[in-house]
């Protein structure tokens, strides 16, 4: 993932590259133009001076032709050519490339020239004044190198500034993000964002505040609903149960009718269980089990395994306990007992006849192993009502309660399947 500022930096750099690249020909044309104009002026001055000074000398025909011969053989930047026919024409400017005969390396120089008709001693001459001018490619290369240098300075500067700005500008954003990451809907503490002087971040914080407030209130309403609904259900459930008890006492009851009542009773037990467990979950979530004390987990594990022994015997399950004595952990005693019982009952329910269950407890963790054939989907087993289809007993809440108790105590719960054994571990 790219950082946001790096993305803008990339775009800016590409843009700067285009602009600076486009500036190279622009600079070239500008400097070349200025240069040529200055040279034209320079050549004009030379031409005027040549004309004036030669006329001032008042040379004779012979002297003039001798001087011109010498002049033209030296060609010190100007060249005079006598004209036979008098023709008036405007001055003409030109650029010409000539090889440099004096250079050791073969090189071609560029010249800017002026061709002008001048009059010496009343006779017309064509004067050529030429001045060396920087070659195109040399100018372009120099500008390009300089531009590229500036481009590098620009990118380096942007990179540096981006780093600095990223740390400063995004600080409120990072604060908000860190708070959001740590936010838990079920922890009753509302989120407080730091005030930011950046309009966008303040807007973001406001939107988040509103969203979180709505979430908290929806979550609270849902929790209250669960608790209230569960409470309200207890009385009608009690009435049904008691009426069935009375119905069972009727003399005229047939065996079929008795069986029907038993079937209703079984379902009723299940509803009651679901209801009780939902209520328990709601209560844990509503912080009704928050009082902590030093709990002797070893004793609880031993008591629970003793109580479940009866059920285990019925299925001929082999129970093995490796419990370190006096494992004292600061926790809620009621919840620990529910946790251990749920782990044991879960193991009991999902172990086939003649299987084995083992419980291990030490200061670091509590593990319950039971024999099994197939690994469970560890992603969903702790979800409410996530039990496999085809199961007709249980409330589908046992593991959800285990998970919730672990969350409450900030313990880790994990599930593994190894050597044909399911293993649930609570890491204290």
């Amino acid at each position: 993932m790219n950082r946001l500022l790096h993305k803008t930096l990339k775009t800016y750099s590409i843009f700067a590259l285009f602009v600076l690249a486009a500036s190279v020909p622009a600079y070239y044309f500008l400097t070349d133009h200025i240069w040529l104009r200055e040279l034209d002026e320079h050549n004009e001055i030379i031409a005027q001076r040549t004309e004036k000074e030669l006329n001032k000398l008042q040379l004779s025909e012979l002297q003039l032709s001798q001087s011109l011969a010498l002049w033209n053989s030296l060609k010190p930047g100007t060249y005079l050519k006598p004209l036979t026919v008098i023709k008036e024409r405007p001055d003409s400017f030109y650029t010409v490339l000539r090889p440099n005969p004096y250079s050791e390396k073969p090189s071609i120089d560029r010249f800017r020239g002026l061709s002008k008709i001048i009059h010496i001693n009343g006779k017309p001459f064509e004067l050529f004044a030429e001045t060396n001018v920087e070659e195109t490619e040399e100018t372009v290369a120099a500008i390009a190198v300089l531009t590229f240098l500036f481009f590098l300075i620009l990118v380096a500067g942007l990179l540096f500034l981006t780093r600095r700005l990223s740390a400063q500008l995004w600080k409120p954003f990072r604060n908000t993000l860190a708070k959001l990451k740590n936010f838990r809907l079920n922890s009753a503490t509302p989120l407080v964002f730091e005030q930011s002087d950046t309009a966008e971040f303040e807007e973001l914080n406001n939107a988040l505040r509103k969203l979180i407030a709505q979430n908290i209130s929806a979550y609270k309403a849902q929790k209250e609903f669960t608790e209230n609904a569960s409470h309200e259900l207890q009385t009608p459930l009690a009435i049904i149960k008691n009426k069935l008890d009375l119905l069972l006492q009727k003399e005229s009851l047939t065996e079929r009718q008795y069986q029907l009542i038993e079937e209703i009773n079984k379902s009723l037990t299940r509803i009651t269980g679901i209801n009780r467990n939902l209520l328990l979950l709601a209560k844990i979530e509503n912080h009704q089990f928050d009082d902590m004390s030093d709990v002797n987990v070893s004793t609880i594990v031993e008591q629970c395994s003793e109580l479940s022994g009866d059920f285990f015997e019925q299925k001929n399950l082999h129970l093995q306990t490796t419990v370190e004595t006096n494992v004292i952990i600061s926790s809620n005693a009621t919840l620990v007992e529910i946790l251990v019982n749920n782990l044991l009952m879960n193991a009991y329910r999902h172990t086939v006849h003649n299987g084995h269950i083992s419980i291990q407890l030490n200061k670091a963790k509590l593990s319950v192993y039971n024999s099994g054939k197939q690994a469970l989907d560890s992603r969903i087993i702790f979800e409410r009502f996530s039990k496999k289809t085809g199961e007709h007993t249980g409330t589908g809440l046992g593991l959800a309660i285990i998970k919730e108790i672990c969350v409450r105590h900030k313990w880790d719960i994990n599930y593994q399947f190894k050597n044909e054994q399911h293993c649930f571990s609570v890491i204290f």
């Binding site: 409470h231 207890q234 009385t235 459930l237 009690a238 009435i239 049904i240 149960k241 008691n242 009426k243 008890d245 009375l246 069972l248 006492q249 009851l253 065996e255 008795y258 069986q259 009542i261 038993e262 009773n265 079984k266 009723l268 037990t269 299940r270 009651t272 269980g273 679901i274 009780r276 209520l279 209560k283 009704q288 009866d310 059920f311 015997e313 019925q314 009621t334 019982n341 009952m345 879960n346 009991y348 329910r349 007993t393 249980g394 409330t395 046992g398």
Partner: protein, 224 residues
Amino acid sequence: MKVLIIEDEPELAQSIAEYLSEESYRCEFASSFTDALEKISIYEYDCILLDIMLPDGNGLTILEELARQRKQEGVIILSAKGSIDDKIRGLQIGADDYLTKPFHLAELAARIYSIIRRKQFGNVNIVEQNELQINLPAKTVTVNGTSLTLTKKEFDLLLYFLSNKNRVISKSTLAEYLSGDYADMLDNHDFIYAHIKNLKKKLTQAGCDHYLKTIYGTGYKWEV
């Protein structure tokens, strides 16, 4: 024996009364807090069933009132809340037992039975039925004078049957009684068979009559 049912839900109160009336209990009703306060200050009861969530007051206040008046009635709290705090507070103020709704009437009858017996007989709390003698505080059973070794579950079952004489008790009711809150987690209730079978065998071997009958295949009845 007189039982006061303090319960605002009439259907529930009537069911309880109907079940208990066959066991020679006389039931009276109080459907509100004020009604209940009035009744307890005028009459004497053997047992009071107290719903702590009443429309016009908290049942725990009635408990406090009973303690203030130094009444000796046995009190069983009936609560839809099932919160541990309530339970602990109720038992601290002076309730003898606590039952969470929904409950089986047989369970309630068993609790009333043991509370009334405890209140009436104290340490000489011995139930006698022909050749059968049960010492409740000592948890011992004798048949024709010879003592019987029962497991805790077998003893509990025996007492449960004795407090629900001549009533049909279904297997699921017994399963709930023996497994408590974990009844809903059990795939089947077959473990009941083993306990009943053992109990029957021990009683018969000691020369006890066949009081425990199997009804409709999976139900049980203690017939006297």
